[in-house]
């Protein structure tokens, strides 16, 4: 649990940006790098954050929201990307269900051993299955989001924004 007022402010700006476009449905599995954002979403009465048991279930729950006409985002650590590749490829991509994916980028640079392999592979995995992504710096978050939104709306397929350490938590 390490996040600072800077993270909290950024989280509230980012969620305000998403809410303005109708993102009121969030689901996922926590990561410490999302700490401030998860706190913001959980406390916000205007949005629904549904804790899922695993990342693939979160992808399914978000798909149900999108099928219901809502915009939805899935929050997870990149370790969870492995669990949900099948859901993303055999549900979202072929059924054209555009969910926004907010995936923390563990293993970007030095990190604990369990994050190193996925840290090296997560961009390549998305590239391989055809899910575009952005890896924004702190001050590029809005730009990445605008790109994502455009893609979701036009292509009806998921877009991932990788969240690096220091944006919403340490």
């Amino acid at each position: 649990m390490k996040w600072t007022p800077e993270h909290t402010t950024r989280a509230s700006e980012f969620s305000r940006l998403l809410k303005k476009d109708g993102f009121h449905f969030f689901t996922g599995v926590p990561c410490s790098l999302l700490g401030a954002l998860l706190q913001n979403l959980s406390e916000d009465k205007d949005v629904q954050y549904v804790p899922a048991a695993r990342e693939d279930a979160a992808v399914g729950i978000a798909a149900g929201a999108v099928l219901s006409g809502r915009r939805a985002a899935v929050l997870m650590q990149n370790s969870g990307l492995g669990y949900c590749l099948n859901a993303l490829t055999s549900l979202n991509l072929i059924y054209r269900i555009p969910s926004l994916l907010l995936i923390t980028y563990r293993g970007f640079g030095p990190d604990a051993p369990e994050h190193l392999v996925m840290g090296k592979s997560c961009e390549g995995l998305l590239k391989e299955v055809g899910i575009p992504y952005a890896v924004p710096e702190k001050d590029e978050l809005e730009k990445a989001y605008q790109k994502a939104k455009k893609y979701l709306d036009h292509e009806k397929k998921p877009f991932a924004i990788f969240i690096k350490r220091g944006i919403f938590g340490e």
């Binding site: 899922a52 693939d56 149900g64 099948n86």
Partner: protein, 185 residues
Amino acid sequence: MTSRQAIDIFYTFLQGEPVVCATGYISRSAQGAKDRLENFYMIGSMGLASSIALGVALCKPQKKVIALDGDGAVLMNLGTLATIGALKPANFFHLVIDNSGYESTGNQLSHAGRVPLDKIAQSAGYAHVRRAETPEALRKEIAAGLAKKGPVFILAKVSPDSGAPAPRVHAAPEVITENFSKCLR
């Protein structure tokens, strides 16, 4: 009672309810029983019917939302039973066709023959849990369950079908999305 008989019985009770149909023979049999725009036929992402239906149920609280699931798929995603039991969406209806095996890949056994999924649902916090082993019992439990405050869990214990399987899902996935979404508007 075979799985197809159970699915045929289930469809006689429906009006316009959205149904998320699990991957494999469940979707094929559902299409065979009653092909309707409110059916979301899954052809991949095995295990996620309950998750998808949960997402719909949370966003459409005025509609009764149904997950037509299989025992193998439930075992694959037991965690979502806990999510459903914790969130308790009153409009969620879970019908599990339990043949205790993987019928579409050659009837390999699943552990549902020895592990009672209804007891797991009960422990997870579903509001109304029932088991049906005959067509008569299934009719009674579906009729009663649809009138109950959910989440409802009905376990239909069935034997595998012996005849040829129902035809494959014919609509393209993006068409299924379009049809299903239209019904939810």
